[in-house]
């Protein structure tokens, strides 16, 4: 944790109210998201108990499994859930747009919108991943046949769960993490995991401090857990008596489960409201574009009859995926810092970025030592912040992302002032005279950082059928219907 966020937590504790740790919203909030709150049956291996789901605040749909240990009931639940999720994910395929690829030599098409799922917490994401795993290989014929929508639902849930692992993706979001990205509370991260307590710190009811409201929200009788695990007391005293009969009273079950889920439903929409109040970061739309690419690719994969996601990635697929996750994580961290001065402040605190004033500027400086003369303006920046860069390092400024600044010298000037001499290249037009405003002028306040948005080339991986023997050799092909008996 950075000192900046830790200080925000300390301030939140002292003020009795959560403190912002971001000035803009770092994720896409869909105008029509699908909110899904799953509950699992205690003790069972990821068996669903109930779910409250819907894309409209006023119209939550409650699905329940009256007998979670009964296989048929479980798959009936899956089919019902598919009846909501599948039409929702299919509703974004109406319009496409052309995107230039290969430097404008070609175009490809992607959908102009994509679905967005919201669950309360990381447990909800895990539940969707495992529920996807338990349904996507189901066979639609034979002895254990399930409706065709069930394996399709499994493949979509797996798609969303995989997307949730990708830093910066907004296809499947969880409320706890989304709020934690923008606010620091006066309690620990472990306590933040409870959505009701977290929201209590961020927007306490009138007349109460966040701390008081959060303590009150810890009582499972007042704020039922946001799932997927249920409150043991609820299991023992409410659910067990209703379920212990051979023919459970479905109406009564529906009622108690709705009462458990509705408070969280309200919290989910309040979370969305709070996030919508924040202005979106400049690079959020770009990341949503990639999400739309991912979605379009998956729709196409399904349309072409591609196989379900494997139980485990093969060696090549796993290495490639890890590489994608790592570059996405780096890119996301840089983009957040460029979008948000408060995130950039964390880098300023440790000397990886500094803000200062331009004291000298030679905007027309030409470097003619090479084959042809090039425009290389130099500026002097004076700062009172820590500077941990060496001559020869290349810096960028969020104000001028396409411009590079090469550090020529770093000189201490006085007790807590540092002079940094920089040579600029790029982002100034094609002529030997810089475009107006492209070179920082004397007196301008600039921010410079070692973070870079520069393109990183992807790794080179062999084809799966060329997997070397050191990594187990080529993986076997998928054969449908190979795992019927594990449920």
């Amino acid at each position: 944790m950075s000192t900046l966020t830790a200080l925000a937590r300390a301030q939140a504790y002292a003020d009795g109210r959560a403190q912002p740790i971001a000035t803009v919203r770092h994720l896409h909030v869909h105008p029509r998201p699908l909110v899904l709150i799953p509950l699992a049956m205690a003790g069972e291996a990821h068996a669903p108990l109930a779910a409250l789901v819907g894309a409209e605040r006023s119209a939550p749909r409650l699905l329940i499994v009256a007998q979670p240990r009964n296989r048929d009931h479980r798959f009936a639940f899956a089919a019902e859930l598919a009846g909501i999720v599948l039409p929702y994910v299919d509703s974004f395929t109406a319009a496409t747009e052309a995107v230039a690829v290969d430097r404008g030599r070609d175009v490809r098409h992607r959908f102009t919108d994509a679905p967005q799922l919201w669950v309360p917490n990381t447990g909800g994401v895990d539940f969707l991943r495992l529920f996807g795993r338990s349904t996507r290989f189901r066979s639609i014929d034979g002895e254990y046949a399930v409706p065709p929508s069930v394996p399709l639902l499994g493949r979509w849930l797996t798609f969303f769960a995989h997307a949730a692992e990708m830093p910066g993706s907004s296809l499947l979001l969880n409320a706890v993490q989304a709020l934690g990205l923008h606010w620091a509370t006066g309690q620990s991260g472990a306590e933040d995991a409870q959505l009701a307590a977290l929201l209590a710190w961020i927007s306490p009811p009138p007349g109460r401090t966040g701390a008081e409201a959060a303590r009150a929200a810890e009582d499972p009788a007042l704020s039922p857990p946001a799932g997927p695990a249920t409150d043991p007391a609820f299991d023992n005293h409410v659910l067990a008596p209703l379920m212990s009969t051979a023919e459970p009273d479905v109406a009564a079950l529906t009622e108690v489960l709705r009462a458990q889920l509705l408070p969280t439903w309200e919290l989910m929409w309040r979370t969305l409201d709070l996030l919508r109040e924040l202005p979106a970061g400049a690079r959020v739309a770009g990341r949503w574009d990639s999400d739309r690419d991912t979605y379009s690719g998956f729709v196409q994969h399904l349309a072409e009859g591609g196989p379900p996601q494997p139980r485990r990635d093969g060696a090549v697929a796993a290495a490639a995926r890890l590489h994608r996750l790592e570059s996405a994580a780096t890119r996301y961290a840089v983009q957040r810092a460029f979008d948000d001065p408060l995130v950039m402040a964390e880098y300023r605190l440790v000397g990886a970025a500094f803000a200062g004033e331009v004291t000298l500027a030679n905007a027309d400086r030409i470097d003619d030592t090479g084959k042809r003369p090039v425009l290389r303006p130099r500026i002097m920046v004076v700062t009172g912040e820590p500077v941990r860069v060496e001559p020869g390092a290349t810096l960028t400024s969020p104000q001028r992302p396409s411009q590079k600044a090469l550090v020529i010298s770093v000189t201490a000037a006085g007790a807590d002032r540092t002079e940094v001499l920089l040579e600029l290249s790029g982002g100034m037009g094609r002529k030997l005279v810089a475009e107006p405003g492209s070179v920082p002028a004397v007196g301008e306040r600039v921010l410079l950082t070692t973070l870079s948005e520069a393109y990183r080339p992807g790794g080179a991986f062999p084809d799966p059928d060329q997997t070397p023997w050191t990594h187990g050799g080529p993986p076997p092909a998928f054969t449908p219907g190979s795992e019927q008996a594990d449920q």
């Binding site: 900046l4 200080l7 023992n236 594990d486």
Partner: protein, 353 residues
């Protein structure tokens, strides 16, 4: 049990340890309060309730039912299913006798322990031993451990088998559950080793490889995996050695300190203040007294979690950290660096937030 510890508990009988409570001791080794209360066998849930800070440590009866059902299924027909998975997992022949030493019952403690000793003394005896009764010295106190487990004896080596009803899906299980199971199994390994040593056998006959039997994927089919618990064993040994000194600590407490549940809440709270706690947010899921300790630790940076405390330069209280950040407090010699960082952070937050 030493007299000093007994006195702390007052009139109530000691709460018995089990593998779970012993395993929990390794969770927050720096906490003197927990060590003393556990060593004295104080009923912590009742104590927490008495002083007005009840914790919620319930277990769903659905989870219990499934756990019991899974175990019964494994042990049915002379442990047929269990033998099958163990044979596959250890690649050894798990044929041989099966001895059930009886159900959990206070009256048969000594008898079951004697029988366990007999079975283990005759090294060529049963292959599977159910409900054995082991003992372990915890804080100078001999506690009976009643593992709901089977010790599997193959070719003279003993393997501890731990049955858990959580699922292994595609070779992966919940890591928190696996590590909890590993620590519990390590408690049994340690107890078995001490018993063998007492009987004059080589304690290393008890393998540090324990077998974890879980359900596979989404079914009730069992899957067995071998876990190496050497790391957990050494943590546990270190922790138990430390606990041995707890009775001295308890003896040093003033005579007025007592956790007798018959006392009033004010007296109990006063007594608790004599024994220092080391609260961390992780306690909330591991210790029944945590809600009280959190209340007591309010305003400390530790209550916000270890990462926050570290990032605030290890300063003890929130008020002190904020004063250093605002520049209204003079930093102590060892705080100069932390204070400078805090002031810089406060400046940045004031500028931007």
């Amino acid at each position: 049990m030493t007299a000093g510890l007994d006195r702390l508990r007052g009139g109530t009988p000691p709460k018995r340890h089990n593998a779970r409570t012993i395993a929990a001791l390794t969770g927050n080794p720096g906490c003197t309060r927990r060590a003393v209360l556990d060593a004295a066998g104080v009923d912590k849930p009742k104590l927490a309730q008495r002083i007005g800070f009840p914790g919620s440590f319930g277990q769903s009866r659905f989870a219990l039912a499934r756990g019991n059902g899974f175990e019964a299924m494994l042990k049915a027909d002379d442990c047929a299913l269990l033998r099958k998975v163990l044979t596959e997992c250890l690649q050894l022949d798990a044929a041989g006798g099966y001895d059930d030493l009886g159900e959990d019952d206070d009256d048969t403690l000594t008898a079951r322990h004697r029988r366990t000793r007999e079975l283990l003394a005759g090294a060529a005896g049963a292959a599977l031993i159910d409900h054995p009764l082991l003992t372990l010295d915890v804080a100078g106190q001999r506690v009976f451990l009643e593992p709901d487990l089977i010790a599997l004896q193959i070719e003279g080596r003993l393997h501890v088998v731990e049955i858990k009803s959580f699922a292994i899906v595609d070779g992966q299980a919940d890591s928190a559950k696996v590590s909890a199971a590993a620590v519990q199994a390590a408690v049994y390994v340690l107890a078995l080793r001490r018993l063998l040593a007492e009987l004059g056998h080589d304690p290393t006959l008890v393998s540090h490889d324990v077998v974890l039997v879980c359900t596979e994927n989404f079914s009730l089919q069992p899957a067995a995996v071998v876990l190496d618990v050497r790391k957990q064993l050494s943590t546990l040994q270190r922790q138990l050695a430390r606990l041995a000194s707890v009775s001295e600590l308890a003896a040093a407490l003033p005579g007025s300190v007592s956790f007798d549940l018959a006392l009033g809440p004010a007296d109990l709270t006063a007594a608790l203040r004599h024994v220092e706690a080391r609260y961390a947010p992780e306690c909330l899921s591991a210790c029944e007294l945590a809600v009280y300790c959190r209340h007591e630790a309010a305003g400390s940076t530790a209550a916000l979690g270890r990462p926050v405390r570290d990032a605030l330069g290890g300063v003890d209280t929130v008020a002190e950290a904020l004063a250093l950040a605002a520049g209204t407090a003079e930093p102590a010699e060892d705080q100069v660096e932390a204070a400078a960082l805090l002031r810089a952070a406060a400046r940045l937050r004031a500028e931007l937030a």
